[in-house]
């Protein structure tokens, strides 16, 4: 019953943004990280995690923030900011569940429109977390885009549709990601992390974007 409770709490508290390795069981309070890959475009993220003194069912709660930019066109015009919480619950031995929730806002500037989105997301991963390595056998992420503010460019209104409405849009949808993760820790300070995920729309239609999301991450604990 306790194990079921732990799983339920884990799921409820559920986006893992960076492979956790044994970070939560280490003495370090902070971890800075860099993550680069395809998700959904070629992007990189810089962020920091903080392990708080708050505990939930005997396990620590962490917080994190990150900024994501386009790899080939960095700048705040195409950036995303994410803030969230993390929770690692050991279920039995090295087998455990890691969860996270986050809120995010992002901007994109395209030839057809400028958009700013607001979203919430939750995720959990289940796997084996050893002191020097971990493997997540299942990672599930869900992001719900609450609203997007879209302003069309003159190009769009001239070339495609002059009647396009500028303003707040409801129903921008959401997405699922299912995947695997693996990570390794070196010298108790440095983390290496790799993840592979398959995206779907929230109603499981073709995502029509990158067929896979692939990320490589590096972390430093302090």
């Amino acid at each position: 019953m306790k194990t079921v409770m732990n799983i339920l709490v884990g799921i409820l508290f559920s986006v893992n943004l960076f492979g956790q390795n044994n970070y939560f069981s280490s003495e370090n309070k902070y971890r800075a990280f860099f993550k680069g890959g395809i998700e959904p475009s070629t992007v990189f993220s810089l962020g920091i995690e903080y392990k708080s003194n708050i505990e939930l069912l005997g396990s620590p709660v962490g917080f994190y923030g990150q900024v994501t930019q386009l790899f080939f066109k960095p700048g705040f015009g195409n950036a995303e900011f994410k803030f969230g919480g993390l929770y690692h619950k050991s279920i039995t031995g090295s087998f455990g569940i890691i969860n996270s929730i986050n809120v995010s806002t992002g901007a994109i500037s395209t030839i057809n429109f400028d958009s700013r989105k607001y979203a919430v997301a939750g995720a959990f991963e289940i796997g084996f977390y050893k002191p020097k390595w971990y493997v997540s056998v299942l990672t599930v992420e869900y992001e719900k885009i609450l609203t997007s503010h879209i302003e069309h460019t003159d190009h769009f209104k001239t070339v495609f549709y002059e009647g396009a409405q500028d303003g707040w849009y409801k129903g921008p949808g959401g997405s699922w990601q299912f995947g695997l993760e693996w990570g390794k820790t070196f010298n108790q300070k440095f983390d290496l992390h790799i993840e592979l995920k398959v995206p779907f729309t929230e109603n499981f239609r073709a995502y029509a974007g990158s067929p896979y999301h692939l990320n490589l991450g590096l972390g430093y604990r302090f």
Binding site: K117, H155, V159, G167, G174
Partner: protein, 349 residues
């Protein structure tokens, strides 16, 4: 006092939120123009069990020329617009200039344009209803309808029509001639899609693959847009596709301002792009066709695919090739007068 201020601030915040008009992404007309099934003011025809967005220009006593747009998924807007002039409004009575582009052939032909099903301002269809066989039957129905209209109006009974096929529309015209060679008098192609698997392979070998374009602006924008709205709904998927339009194939040398109304996103993944399949055959009966086939290409495209035009034209007994300088795949919109000049000087109605 503190509670009152808090209540006032909360109330004002809610008022501001509710005073902002919000739009539904999947409501027709917000992000993309309404299609003929949603907008009764759009010009249309009823054929083969559906309605299609369509217009005709010119004197119906003239020979009939049917124009087939590209894609699959694009529409005929670029064929009735012209670079340097205002793009054609979708409502004919709101146009401030007479239709331009290839519709200027109306002085010698009765020019019929239509958006293929699932494309442009024609209705959206699910993938299962978007097959090449259905597209061929739609075209046959458009031809039969026009011939009947002409007979009823003028008493003139045409047996054959002229076809103009642009890009995918060229493949469609070719497939139609292969199936119904007796219904077409002459055909004009502007950079038609490949007719055979071998030609597809040549085309693919000389084109940039998506992976080679990582970091390109269009690809970043298209992929990142998925973080702002996902293609849960057909309208959202069509809207996202417009980030790809005119930009994804550098070898085409397309102009980004080449206009259209809507890009039917599902046509791309439907059973229309079948060129690489093993049972792909739209050439086996072309020898039965007795008309002329004009193959026109822009010099910029020819530079990328130098052998392509000849590889395509070889299937026709009577074919001629023409190159127009300084244009690529959007040449129909860029230099329609030069295309019209070739047509008028080569085939006589």
């Amino acid at each position: 006092m503190k509670n009152k201020i808090h209540a006032i601030v909360t109330f004002m915040s809610l008022m501001v939120l509710y005073s902002c008009e919000t739009y539904d992404m999947d409501e027709p007309g917000n992000l993309l123009p309404k299609t003929v099934d949603e907008d009764p003011l759009l010009p249309r025809i009823e054929v083969n069990g559906t309605i299609l967005h369509s217009e005709a220009f010119g004197d119906i006593q003239n020979p009939i020329m049917i124009f087939l747009h590209g894609g699959p998924g694009s529409d005929y807007r670029s064929m009735i617009s012209e670079k340097g002039y205002e793009n054609a409004n979708r409502y004919p009575n709101e146009r401030t200039t007479v239709p331009m582009g290839l519709s200027k052939l109306r002085d010698e032909y009765y020019c019929v344009f239509y958006d293929q099903r699932g494309a442009g301002l024609s209705p959206r269809f699910e993938k299962a209803k978007l097959t090449f066989a259905i597209y061929l039957e739609d075209l046959k129905a458009v031809i039969e309808r026009t011939i009947k209209e002409k007979l009823n109006t003028t008493g003139i009974k045409d047996e054959r029509v002229y076809l103009f096929g642009y890009s995918f529309g060229g493949l469609l015209a070719n497939g139609f001639i292969n199936k119904y060679p007796g219904l077409v008098k002459h055909v004009v192609f502007y950079e038609p899609a490949p007719f055979t698997k071998e030609n597809w392979e040549y085309f693919v070998e000389n084109s940039s693959m998506v992976f080679a374009q990582i970091g390109k602006e269009w690809l970043d924008e298209y992929l990142l847009a998925h973080e702002h709205f996902t293609p849960n709904d057909h309208i959202q998927a069509d809207y996202q596709m417009l980030l790809v339009a005119n930009r994804a194939q550098p070898e085409f040398h397309e102009e980004e301002n080449n206009p259209f109304w809507r890009y039917g996103s599902l046509t791309g993944s439907a059973n229309l792009d079948f060129g690489m399949s093993d049972n792909f055959d739209v050439t086996s009966n072309l020898s039965s066709f007795s008309g002329n086939a004009l193959f026109i290409s822009g010099s910029l495209s020819m530079h990328e695919y130098s052998e392509y035009l000849e590889m395509q034209s070889v299937f026709y007994n009577r074919s001629e090739e023409f190159i127009i300088e300084g244009i690529g795949h959007s040449g129909v919109w860029q230099k329609p007068d030069e295309i019209i000049k070739i047509i008028k000087s080569t085939i006589k109605p």
